[in-house]
């Protein structure tokens, strides 16, 4: 429903501001060209999006995702010590992190949900510190190859769509670190209040 309000709000506000600013012609033109550009853009990014989805699938069947998941276990054991005691939860969390890294969103979400359900057992509907950490890990993006954005950039005429990779990694690492740190600090502050 939130999208209905967002979309409706934007369209209604556009009409009001268009009348107010005397820009109704421009608003009309934008409405027509917006829909057209959506299709043009989708067509021009279709090729690279399909290619990258294909390459990621090849990596998955080659076992790259599994290897990645294994390499994250020691780190996750330190981050989520309680959840890691259950080997199935640890397996789901590490597979979730590795799928996120490879940009396999469709695979990452069910794995993360499985982990969250196991971690939430017996806590009476209250999120534990570790469950909050898992959710923060998933709300922060840790994608190695942001294929969709690269596809948009090349559709817009960029010849080196992946030149933003170092910047994306830098910013992702800072963002994830800030999220985990905030979760730690807020959890302590919340406990003091209780």
């Amino acid at each position: 429903m939130s999208m209905a309000w967002l979309w409706g709000g934007m369209v209604v506000l556009s009409l009001i501001f268009g009348v107010w600013n005397g820009q109704l012609d421009a608003v009309t033109e934008a409405a027509v060209s917006g829909a057209n550009s959506a299709i043009e853009l989708s067509l021009s990014m279709a090729g690279s999006l399909c290619l990258w989805s294909g390459v990621m699938e090849v990596m998955r069947v080659c076992g790259v995702a599994d290897a990645l998941a294994r390499s994250f276990r020691p780190l996750l054991r330190r981050l989520l010590p309680e959840a890691s005691r259950d080997s199935e939860t640890l397996a789901a969390v590490s597979a979730n992190v590795s799928a996120n890294l490879m940009g396999l969103g469709n695979a990452a979400t069910p794995l993360g949900i499985r982990a969250a359900q196991r971690m939430a057992r017996g806590c009476g509907g209250v999120a534990s510190d570790e469950l909050c950490l898992l959710v923060v890990l998933n709300t922060a993006s840790i994608q190695l190859l942001p294929a969709t954005i690269a596809a948009v950039r090349s559709a817009a005429g960029c010849s080196t769509p992946f030149d933003i990779l170092p910047a994306v990694w830098f910013s992702s690492v800072l963002s994830v670190a800030a999220g985990l740190l905030a979760a730690r600090l807020l959890s302590r502050a919340g406990r003091r209040r209780l």
């Binding site: 999208m3 967002l6 979309w7 934007m10 369209v11 506000l13 556009s14 009409l15 009001i16 501001f17 268009g18 820009q23 608003v27 033109e29 829909a35 959506a38 853009l41 989708s42 399909c50 290619l51 990258w52 989805s53 294909g54 699938e57 069947v61 076992g63 790259v64 469709n106 979400t109 969250a116 359900q117 971690m119 209250v126 999120a127 959710v135 709300t139 922060a140 994608q143 942001p146 969709t148 954005i149 948009v152 950039r153 090349s154 005429g157 960029c158 080196t160 030149d163 910047a167 994306v168 830098f170 910013s171 800072l174 963002s175 999220g179 985990l180 905030a182 807020l186 959890s187 919340g190």
Partner: protein
């Protein structure tokens, strides 16, 4: 030869070599994945049609400028270009909405412009926070989410500021 001109060929050839070494049918996997890519595209096209229309109208009416202007003082203090304000507002709520707004910025300012790059990095280094929180806590039966929302939004905010910083660091004018 630069780093970015090496990434694609190396990744393709490297993946192919590993796959062949492991006796995996890499071609079948490639086409299966490409089909998945088409499905992804098919799912986002209707959303893009609706949202690019709304974003275009919103910008043409002058409303976008007004909202960005309101946020500009705060954003400038954080080193974030004010033009990306709509992207930051939509990002935690809607993935396809954020893609539409970022696409609008990238095509309007150019993919290699400062604002175009910041928009791309922002999109790549943040997630649809509220959707993720709803899905995870909803399916785990959690109704007291404690500090998850503020912590996740902190990550988003730091991600936005870091995106602008990263573009300035890696692409000095």
């Amino acid at each position: 030869m630069t780093f970015s001109s090496l990434v694609l060929p190396l990744l393709l050839a490297g993946t192919a070599a590993i796959g062949l070494g492991r006796r995996v049918d890499i071609y079948a996997a490639l086409t299966r994945g490409a089909e998945e890519g088409l499905h992804t595209l098919l799912r986002i096209v209707p959303a893009l049609v609706g949202l690019l229309t709304a974003v275009g109208m919103f910008r043409a009416s002058g409303a976008m400028e007004l909202f960005s202007g309101l946020l500009a003082p705060v954003l400038t203090a954080l080193g974030i270009p004010a033009e990306t304000a709509p992207l930051m507002l939509v990002r935690p709520v809607s993935g396809s909405g954020a893609l539409a707004v970022a696409t609008d910025l990238i095509t309007r300012f150019g993919p290699d412009s400062y604002i175009g790059r910041v928009a791309a990095v922002m999109l790549g280094s943040t997630e649809t926070t509220f959707y993720t929180i709803a899905v995870y806590f909803g399916s785990a039966g959690i109704h007291r989410t404690r500090h998850a929302v503020p912590a996740a939004l902190t990550a988003d905010l730091v991600g936005f500021a870091a995106s602008a910083l990263a573009v300035r660091l890696f692409f000095p004018v």
